[in-house]
């Protein structure tokens, strides 16, 4: 497994991904820096974080997870890489797991950049309260966790489709309804694609522990959809003809 991960790293090392990762944090940074705030003190940090989370989590984060998945499978789709990779003495399930781990690692780097962007923007504005690392960190971690089901589904789509844009089309189809779902009190907690946003925007009321989403959402929606997508992806990948 460690070797498979190392091989994913080698494939990514000099790829275009490093150019793409800062795009969303940079945009969120500008938004956090320039947006107008209503409050001061610790509440101001909360507002800055909410602005950053809206810019980043609404569409960018879910769509980027799809781009990561498609990019990681692109190396294999081009020039018969799947055959080569699976001819090695590795279990297909391990290959699949390594790909999923690589997607989530990229998402983790993205979320760390987001933390830096939000903290940087807040400091640049000269907010008087100290940086609330706990709140920012929990928001980024929650957003990351909520990406798990999306990553699993996108990996399934990316292994199934040869073309780069087709799995992204799947992603877009599910992510665009966020624009309506995010405003709905009844449906938002149940829709997996809007969870990265909900998990990132700081909430006052309902939320489990330090998370911004409730325990039911955390377990049932994020955990449940992750399991469903992961199992169907694994079954498909292990059984399909290369």
């Amino acid at each position: 497994m460690a070797r498979l991960l190392a091989s994913e790293w080698i494939k990514l090392r000099r790829s275009i991904i490093w150019l793409l990762l800062p795009a969303s944090p940079l945009l969120a940074f500008v938004a956090c820096w320039r947006s107008s705030l209503d409050s001061g003190g610790a509440q101001a940090w909360r507002e800055v974080l909410a602005v950053g989370a809206m810019v980043h989590g609404y569409l960018f984060l879910p769509l980027l997870v799809g781009i990561f998945a498609a990019l990681l499978c692109r190396f294999e789709h081009a020039s018969g890489g799947w055959k080569q990779l699976l001819a090695l003495p590795v279990r297909p399930a391990a290959v699949y797991g390594a790909k999923l781990a690589a997607i989530m690692a990229l998402a983790a780097i993205l979320q760390l950049l987001m933390c830096a962007a939000i903290a940087g923007a807040g400091l640049l504005r000269g907010l008087d309260a100290p940086v609330p690392w706990g709140m920012i960190g929990m928001s980024a971690f929650g957003g990351w966790l909520a990406c798990l089901p999306l990553a699993a589904l996108q990996l399934l789509a990316s292994t199934a489709f040869q073309s780069f844009a087709a799995p992204l089309a799947v992603n877009v189809v599910f992510t665009l309804p966020n624009m309506l779902v995010a405003n709905s009190r009844d449906f938002a907690p149940w829709y997996p694609w809007v969870q990265p946003l909900l998990a990132m925007v700081p909430q006052d009321t309902y939320g489990f522990g330090a998370f911004n989403v409730s325990l039911e959402t955390l377990l049932a929606v994020i955990g449940g959809s992750f399991l469903v997508f992961l199992c169907s992806g694994l079954l498909y990948f292990v059984r399909r003809a290369v």
Binding site: A23, L27, L59, A70, A165, A166, L168, A169, V172, M179
Partner: protein, 237 residues
């Protein structure tokens, strides 16, 4: 000649997902609006009072723009991807056609697909309004305007995405640029008027809709020329 290039391109996408995608955009937008109206019909009807058509157009427009922004990136990437995937650029350019025709054919394909999406949206919007039993007095001018002006205003982005998708083998970059465009367009109300991300939005609702569409058309042609100049000089691998 360009007509023949286009028919070749259309042949290549027969039975591909691309057509489905072009249809899925408008069907998805209207489908979501159907759910939206189904769930909160009374609220929406009260909100827009005596001009239900205008309300419907407003609701449709708010979903149509993001769908257009990301859809154009996907369509451009998929139509160029046919060639990238098969490694067919070399072969295509070895045929007795000019680079202008090759580039033009790809761009025309994207333009045609998106135009059919806009037309389908027009028909579906009309159908939904009539099904909901809105005033039989259909505001034709507004529906046609909302369906096609954003398309013209988005032309710079269609041109940019086509250009990037054609010259880059790795589609991750064009699609990230497309996603960036989508996110920027959502915050375009905060931008000064000269920035093109806000043009499609202005083409939907503001008084200077025609101006936004006109600027889109002009900038789109300019970006296409730059893109072609790049493609014409590029070494194809």
């Amino acid at each position: 000649m360009i007509g023949r290039m286009l028919s070749v391109e259309l042949l290549k996408i027969r039975r591909k997902l691309l057509w489905m995608l072009a249809a899925l955009g408008p069907v998805g937008v209207i489908g979501l609006q159907a759910v939206n109206y189904g769930l909160r019909y009374d609220y929406l009807m009260k909100l827009y009072g005596d001009s239900p058509w205008e309300g419907l157009l407003r609701q449709v427009g708010s979903l149509m723009l993001p769908a257009l922004f990301i859809g154009l990136a996907l369509v451009a990437s998929m139509s160029a991807g046919i060639e990238h995937q098969a490694g067919a650029w070399k072969q295509l350019l070895a045929l007795p056609v000019t680079r202008l025709q090759v580039f033009g054919g790809k761009v025309m394909l994207s333009l045609l697909l998106l135009l059919s999406s806009c037309t389908l949206l027009l028909l579906l919007t009309l159908g939904m309004g009539l099904l909901l039993g809105f005033d039989p007095q259909v505001p034709w001018a507004e529906i046609v305007r909302q369906s096609y002006l954003p398309y013209l205003a988005a032309l710079p982005f269609i041109a940019l995405q086509s250009w990037l998708s054609i010259v880059m083998a790795n589609q991750a970059l064009p699609l990230t640029v497309g996603t960036l465009g989508l996110v920027l367009s959502m915050f375009s109300v905060l931008m000064p008027a000269w920035m093109p991300w806000g043009w499609p939005d202005r083409a939907v609702r503001s008084a200077d809709a025609l101006q936004a569409a006109g600027s889109g058309l002009a900038l789109g042609v300019l970006v296409l020329l730059i893109g072609y100049a790049h493609f014409a000089r590029k070494d194809v691998s």
